[in-house]
Symmetry: C2
Subunit: 304 residues, 2 copies
DNA sequence: GATATCGTGAAGCAGAGCCGAACGATCCCT
DNA sequence: AGGGATCGTTCGGCTCTGCTTCACGATATC
């Protein structure tokens, strides 16, 4: 009888390409992965891997089995979700990967809603950048990822992941009420301003630079940080201007002027889970709570 | 991680209803089955079984998981079939359950065809009655069942089994050329004849009696046997008349008269495999060989 | 109320499957 | 060309899984 654990190992190897990475992803030693793949070959009686230089690659048969492994593992997760649905009360721990702006504004009210409905259900929230979050999702480190997309920078489709739109969050120009740029009425007044922005290694930082350049501004980024609270503080205290998501601005930039950009760009927030888990009742409950929290925020105009 | 072997045990328990029978079907001890079910409950954290008197029955959650187990096991078998399809030559052993009339006439030419195409592929044929054949199919004792249906006695649908029509085999009235009934031209001349037929515990025996009664004949079954060769011999030697399938009659009743019954009834032969195996190349090869052998027989008129 | 049959639990044992260390092969960089 | 990094595999040793056997209590049956 085939062994699901070994199929999972095969799948991780197929996904990641090397024995070492598969081992790391599964918290095994490379030796264990090697042995599992060997055993799997014995089980099915067909060569699944072959050497290519110092690396190991899947044979045609290996790819066939890895593909089946993926759907089997999804089905297993679906089975677990169906099983959880037979429980009268939701319990257990949901692990969520998110980033700062959402943790600040959306997660707390969502958790309040969730706790009212399912007091037994616990949530752990971990701050991660996008790549780590999605990697952790696939390795079962997390059960749900809160992700974001910026206009024109659509994320690639990820295999085994099911995504759901959550919120459109306006990207606002934040200008201090005091200092050199107070009173600016738009980007056209800010070509010489000091900026604070995310580094250009992450999506928001890439987007904001490209956006400003598209309007003829080469921003002088004096304060580069992914910490939006710090960015907000720098704006409030008059040291810089920034483009800040509404979710953060509405609460932490009440002392600054917030202007809509032309054609009012929005970042799109979404939730993502492993495909097999989309029917899991705890997952659904969390997604509902997040959607309601998002709806409540949208109903209140920013800055109020 | 869920364990496929344990899911298979759950599935067998769901199918058969008791720990002991599941154990027997899997060639385990009852204790092992009990422990596997307990372990499975620990794995999923939900009660899957509960006591009902001295027996054990599935809970709602147990039924949910058992259902998933069935589809998972089918998918595993599909995966194995896909894998086998990557092999250049077919090999291994196919185990077939059949009954006498088919083993006599259809299997030999089919195996000849099969051997020409896939000399590495071996076939074991076991003679079984229908229930034992299907039970053995589900427990992996057999890979393919050759079954039959009689007009008006349709078999019930069996879960997890995929069926394919193979041949319509005419049911012929066989009358000796010598003795009291020689020269009879139809059932109307045979109301007082001695008959040979299958016992009324099996499908052919049930059908033949019901058919004769429908035409006003209460057959005097003097020789009750499932051995069609014996039936044929009894007819040839003038001791009885019988209704014999064309597959047997064409070869073993050349010394008797064969008459079509009114509205020429046929038994319908089919092949059946576990659902997951229908794509398996060896299975497909065997089915094709059987179909071709059947076509060759149909092309030749009976009794020639 | 005797007896068969149900499922479960404890003891013991064989084997599965993990890790760590050592190894050979391959690639890469200088 | 050659040293070092990285690849995958193998071996010894150990732990833990998971089987069987045997014994037991509970339930149904006659």
């Amino acid at each position: 009888m085939l062994h699901l654990a070994r199929l999972r190992t095969l799948h991780e190897f197929a996904r990641l390409g090397t024995v070492h990475e598969a081992a790391r992803s599964l918290a095994y030693s490379p030796s264990a992965v090697s042995q599992q793949l060997t055993q799997l070959e014995r089980d099915v009686g067909i060569a699944l891997t072959e050497k290519a230089g110092r690396r190991l690659v899947l044979t045609a048969a290996g790819r066939v089995l890895a593909q089946h492994a993926r759907t089997l593992l999804e089905d297993v997760e679906r089975a677990e979700a169906d099983l959880a649905a037979t429980k009268p009360v939701l319990s257990g721990v949901l692990r969520v990967a998110s980033f700062q702006s959402v943790m600040l504004s959306l997660i707390p009210p969502a958790l309040t809603i969730l706790f009212e409905r399912h007091p037994e259900l616990q949530v752990e929230v971990h701050q991660r950048e996008a790549e780590a979050a999605y990697a952790g999702l696939l390795t079962h480190e997390f059960d749900l990822v809160l992700g974001e997309e910026y206009p024109g920078l659509d994320e690639r489709h990820r295999a085994g992941v099911q995504r759901e739109a959550l919120l459109e969050d306006p990207l606002l120009l934040a200008i201090p009420r005091e200092g050199s740029w107070a009173g600016a009425r738009g980007l056209e007044d800010l070509s010489e301003a000091n900026w604070t922005a995310d580094p250009d290694t992450v999506l928001p930082g890439i987007w904001v630079r490209s956006r400003l350049r598209a309007q003829g501004i080469e921003p002088r980024v004096r304060f580069e940080t992914i910490d939006l609270l710090l960015q907000a503080h720098l704006v409030r205290s008059g040291h810089a201007v920034a483009i800040i998501p509404g979710l953060v601005a509405r609460e932490h930039l009440t002392g600054a002027d917030l202007l809509e950009l032309t054609d009012s760009p929005h970042r799109r927030l979404h939730t993502a889970v492993r495909t097999g888990r989309s029917a899991d009742p705890a997952t659904r409950a969390l997604r509902s709570a997040l959607a309601e929290a998002a709806g409540a925020l949208e109903a209140v105009p920013p800055g109020s």
